[in-house]
Subunit: 100 residues, 3 copies
């Protein structure tokens, strides 16, 4: 599940709160990487509060609302999403995540 | 609101807990950037637990207690604070945070 | 206290949840650094959810389950652990953590 928008710090920006409320666990490293990569483009990347979390076997990823920001954020973590979704589907070949 | 001190890991260091208790939302990217920039100066930057959060229309930022550490931490995020404060004041021109 | 394993995103991976449950405070900068360093080796480092926290005067650090990942993660933060343990033992020489 991918959301767009509502990840800033203004009062209207409540996507992270809603995401947190429905996720059983968060994957902190994903928004960390999105912000770190975003800093190469704009110092305002630090204000993005988007989360990535897990509910059941679904991955939920918050992207910013601007088309440019959403595309850049998705590109930042696109490479690991198929593997993450495999893991959530129960394909947990030992050592895959940890040692690769 | 800027605080100094109490951001370490010793028992007396309770500023982050107090900050979290009064904030409606946290901006994780700000302490992340402070720590990442701090690592260029000292490996102990990872032990800084300072937070940045929002209560109402106020931004609360925790800085370390040492004058040197406080100045360096503030410099690390100074550039984005005026924009962050504008956003909290309701100036949410669409796309500003997300696309710049 | 060092744990290994259970830090991924699969359903069986519950070490971070157990760690959070027993810690009075978390040190977010330590897993941040482990993940950031890990990214130089593998893009899957972002999926590591290991935590570092404090309970009483003990430091609890989660490492991944693979021997390679565990060694690399430990190396990433080894340098600051003795100082962190000193601080938890009450040796809080003012300015040490903040200004060095």
């Amino acid at each position: 599940v991918v959301t767009t928008g509502g990840t800033g710090i203004a009062e209207r920006d409540v996507t992270p709160e809603a995401t947190r409320a429905v996720c059983s666990r968060l994957i902190e490293g994903i928004p960390e990487k999105i912000r770190a990569d975003g800093l190469a483009k704009t110092p305002f990347a630090v204000l993005s509060r988007g989360l990535c979390g897990v509910r059941g076997r679904s991955l939920i990823l918050n992207l910013p609302g601007s088309p440019k920001g959403a595309v850049e954020s998705l590109q930042s973590v696109m490479g690991i999403l198929p593997h993450a979704i495999d893991l959530l589907a129960g394909k947990t070949g030992h050592g895959e995540v940890d040692s690769q």
